[in-house]
């Protein structure tokens, strides 16, 4: 089976190459026979990569340690769950997994569009096949997952203990689905540039693909944060590590694109900008992969054998050069009728929203690469860690939060003072009331406290803005259709999924902002070395160390568990069991934290250390509002699903809007 897998990768590479060449020759020479032949290659390539992936999974599940990759990332003791996840535990497998997802996306895009978009398809497929060729080249000639060991060992080294967590099965695939998903809009954008079909056809074609990729990337980032929270044992969820940044930057650029593209759809403006954003999103995904696999920037995520940096740097350079050249060449065709009625309009607010999103993306990019710049300029390597990102990005993030509320309530084209008054009086009043109500209860004696206070006020303002939109729409429906409030709200959302789904996403973002503000500003922690029966007093809680338990889980894994009684107002509310896991052959034990989570706060327990006399060092964090972040993530997911849900009314509305616009403006032009 390993031979078949290896051979399948070679066949996939040859077929993908053939597909690229024959698609180009077919469209250039009007060769129908070649076109029909090339048109089969996306599915063949997918089939070959699927066979190779199945072969590697089989090797993991059957403990085939003749494969160096299986030996390095698995062992006999690991459960099936982790053997499946070990596939993407190292560089070789993760590249194969990436390629598998890429070819899967390519095949679905092919099946979806081959008969509908004949003009764009050959070029879009060629672009995707070229990207597939790059990955297949690496898999065949640089990081082959089917590399053999001449004398297979009895057992493998096993997966890194830190990765032996259920999030390992969820987080990387979700993140990869996001990263890889942006290839589809990129390919269609490139096809539009090449074929000069630069109306909004390619945008409508790829809108759901972009949303899908955004959805997965957003969830991937949140899952990564949740994983870090429960696994790394430092009480936090985001460390601004270069690899986290690498996943965050494309998300920001894609978010900017998803907003600004609305202006193009409605007003046929900003074609160059939108094209640049969609290309930049893809570039950012490759940049992220470059960071992960180059070893150039120190990161907690860096792969053991990060050797592919130069390949990705070269690929990145080629992609940027081609994108820039194509955009410059097509500038005359990308010129749009850029006109605005007024500075005070939703279009303007979208532009500023783009500015702030890209501002955060730039600050993150700048911080990520600054160590390299510093080394190049001064010869001194420096570190750019969380204090930098928090100081730079938080103020910009707060401005963005304000715009989330302002943007949707400003009228398209021109907002008047009365329009602003009508829409903003209540949300502003709610924010002021909230600010006054919170003032006596929240400490304001540091930068973090002040920023959190501002964030809470803004959160109330934005929620006020969003809820007023729902309220107005629901009330209108209740009047018009005599519906019950719930029926009116459902019908309102269902008949206008894109708009109200977007608002739901915004609600999720507000929850995340509130959660970050609360947990960053008002958290506290304490650490003590305790004998049995001794306690830590922290905020309203008393954490009493009760006993230490040792368990032999398997022949390679043992656990030491601390039992802690958690009391509040003298009443036992929970028994926490943080533990340390010891893996044979690993120097560092892995901390498994235990968390009592509520809307108000998390009680987060860590067994930091223990001694032979069964004394234990216990670290307790009180992290307020962390669960708001996870809830916000699910709300975003729900909102995105609503946005993506098929909407037959959408096309009708688009045509109607176009007609009305033509009718409204034609008399003025006469």
């Amino acid at each position: 089976m390993n031979d078949i897998g290896e051979f399948a990768l070679l066949v996939a590479l040859a077929t993908a190459l053939y597909g690229c060449v024959s698609y180009i020759m077919a469209v250039r020479g009007n060769r129908v026979d070649l076109y029909l032949s090339a048109d089969k290659t996306p599915l063949i390539v997918w089939g070959c990569v699927a066979i190779a992936s199945a072969a590697l999974w089989r090797a993991f599940l059957t403990d085939d340690f003749s494969l160096q990759y299986v030996w390095a990332y698995s062992n006999r003791e690991m459960g099936t769950f982790y053997k499946i996840a070990s596939f993407w535990g190292g560089q070789k497998g993760s590249l194969l997994f990436w390629t598998f997802l890429l070819t899967t996306y390519m095949s679905v895009a092919y099946l979806q569009n081959r008969k509908k978009n004949v003009a764009l398809m050959p070029y879009a497929m060629t672009v995707m096949l070229v990207i597939v060729v790059f990955f297949l080249f690496l898999l065949n000639f640089s990081t082959n997952p089917f590399e053999r060991i001449p004398l297979p060992p009895e057992d493998g080294r096993g997966l890194n203990p830190l990765l032996q967590n259920y999030w390992m099965v969820i987080h990387p695939p979700t993140l990869y689905l996001g990263y890889v998903g942006f290839t589809v809009p990129f390919a269609f954008a490139m096809a539009a540039l090449i074929t000069k079909n630069l109306d909004d056809g390619w945008i409508r074609l790829t809108r759901k693909w972009t949303l899908l990729a955004w959805f997965f990337l957003c969830l991937g980032n949140l899952f990564g944060a949740a994983w870090a929270y429960v696994e790394l044992g430092w009480g936090g969820y985001w460390a601004w590590d270069p690899v986290e940044n690498a996943a965050f930057m494309p998300l920001l650029v894609a978010t900017a694109y998803l907003h600004s593209v609305m202006i193009q759809e409605k007003k046929d403006m900003m074609k160059v900008w939108n094209m640049s954003l969609v290309l930049l999103t893809f570039v950012m995904t490759i940049f992220g992969t470059f960071i992960t696999r180059s070893g150039l920037i120190q990161s907690v995520h860096t792969f053991d054998e990060a050797t592919l940096g130069y390949f990705f740097l070269g690929f990145l350079g080629v992609v940027i050069a081609i994108c820039t050249t194509l955009i410059i060449k097509r500038l005359p065709l990308l010129k749009s009728k850029n006109e605005l009625d007024s500075f005070l309009s939703r279009e303007s607010s979208f532009l500023f929203n783009n500015l702030l999103l890209l501002g955060i993306a730039f600050a993150t990019f700048w911080g990520t690469i600054f160590p390299i710049i510093s080394e190049a300029v001064r010869g001194v390597k420096i570190t750019v860690g969380p204090p930098f990102y928090n100081q730079v990005n938080v103020p910009i993030g707060l401005a963005l939060l304000a715009l989330i509320g302002i943007g949707p309530l400003i009228a398209w084209r021109r907002a008047t003072l009365s329009n602003l008054k009508k829409n903003f009086v209540k949300p502003v009043a709610a924010a002021l009331v909230a600010g006054a109500a919170l003032f006596p209860f929240l400490p304001l004696d540091g930068r973090a406290d002040i920023l959190a206070y501002i964030a809470f006020i803004l959160c109330v303002f934005v929620m006020g803005c969003i809820l007023s939109e729902f309220f107005k729409g629901t009330a209108a429906r209740m009047d018009l259709h005599e519906e019950s409030p719930l029926a009116a709200l459902s019908a309102l959302t269902w008949r206008n999924k894109r708009r109200y789904g977007g608002y739901v996403v915004h609600i999720g973002v507000v929850l995340i902002f509130a959660g970050i503000a609360g947990s960053q500003a008002y958290g506290t922690h304490d650490q003590k070395h305790l004998q049995k029966g001794e306690s830590i007093q922290i905020r309203d809680y008393t954490v009493t160390y009760e006993r230490l338990l040792a368990k032999e889980e398997t022949s390679i894994k043992s656990r030491v568990i601390a039992q802690l009684g958690v009391y509040r107002d003298g009443r036992r509310v929970w028994t926490g069991n943080p533990e340390k896991e010891f893996y044979k052959g690993s120097n560092q034990p892995v901390s498994e934290v235990d968390v009592l989570s509520s809307w108000k706060e998390d009680v987060y327990l860590i067994l930091a250390d223990f001694t032979e006399d069964e004394a234990a060092t216990i670290k307790v964090y009180i992290n307020p509002m962390v669960s708001w972040i996870w809830t916000g993530g699910w709300v975003i997911a729900f909102g995105t699903v609503v946005c993506m849900w098929p909407d037959r009314l959408e096309e009708r509305r688009r045509v109607m809007r176009q007609k009305k616009q033509d009718a409204a403006f034609s008399p003025a032009q006469e």
Binding site: L232, L351, F352, P386, I606, Q661
Partner: protein
């Protein structure tokens, strides 16, 4: 026009002011130290000390606690650490010399971008006024609007209703 530019600049200055470091709070001295320094363990974990859970980080914390108790200030400890490990031990670039560019560049980019957008919007608004042949209509007066104004307003309102 000037007031709009002033507003943009004021916003940028506000962001920059919020980004400036504040005085350390009493009781948070060790945390400040842990935030300011990276863990220098043999594994090169790449974590800020406050986020690190390795054995080296525990030893370092204990060492810092002793130093703080002996009366050595946070700044002195940071200086000692920089002398020992080099600038890479700091969790963020210093705010002087070349490193200042790390702090200034994002806000400078934001400011330039903001002014650029401002200018672009002005151009687009002027273009629109130029092509429609008249000045920007004033804020809707309380008096009765003209029939044409009514018509345009109605269309606008309707479009706003279905503008998804």
């Amino acid at each position: 026009m000037k007031s709009r530019y002033a507003l943009t600049i004021a916003l940028a200055v506000f962001c920059l002011a919020l980004a400036l470091p504040q005085a350390a709070r009493a009781g948070a001295v060790l945390a400040d130290l842990e935030n300011a320094l990276m863990c220098k363990c043999d594994d090169k974990c790449g974590k800020v000390l406050i986020n690190c859970t390795c054995a080296t980080s525990d030893k370092t914390r204990a060492e810092f606690t002793k130093l703080l108790e002996s009366g050595i200030t946070v700044d002195q400890i940071i200086k000692m650490q920089v002398e020992k490990h080099g600038e890479t031990v700091l969790s963020a670039p210093t705010k002087n010399g070349f490193n200042l560019t790390a702090w200034v560049a994002p806000f400078a980019a934001l400011l330039v971008g903001g002014l650029g957008i401002r200018k672009i919007i002005d151009t687009w608004v002027r273009k629109n006024r130029g092509e429609t042949g008249g000045p920007e209509p004033a804020e809707a007066p309380a008096a009765e609007p003209s029939p044409d104004g009514k018509y345009v307003n109605r269309i606008r309102n309707e479009l706003d209703e279905i503008e998804t």
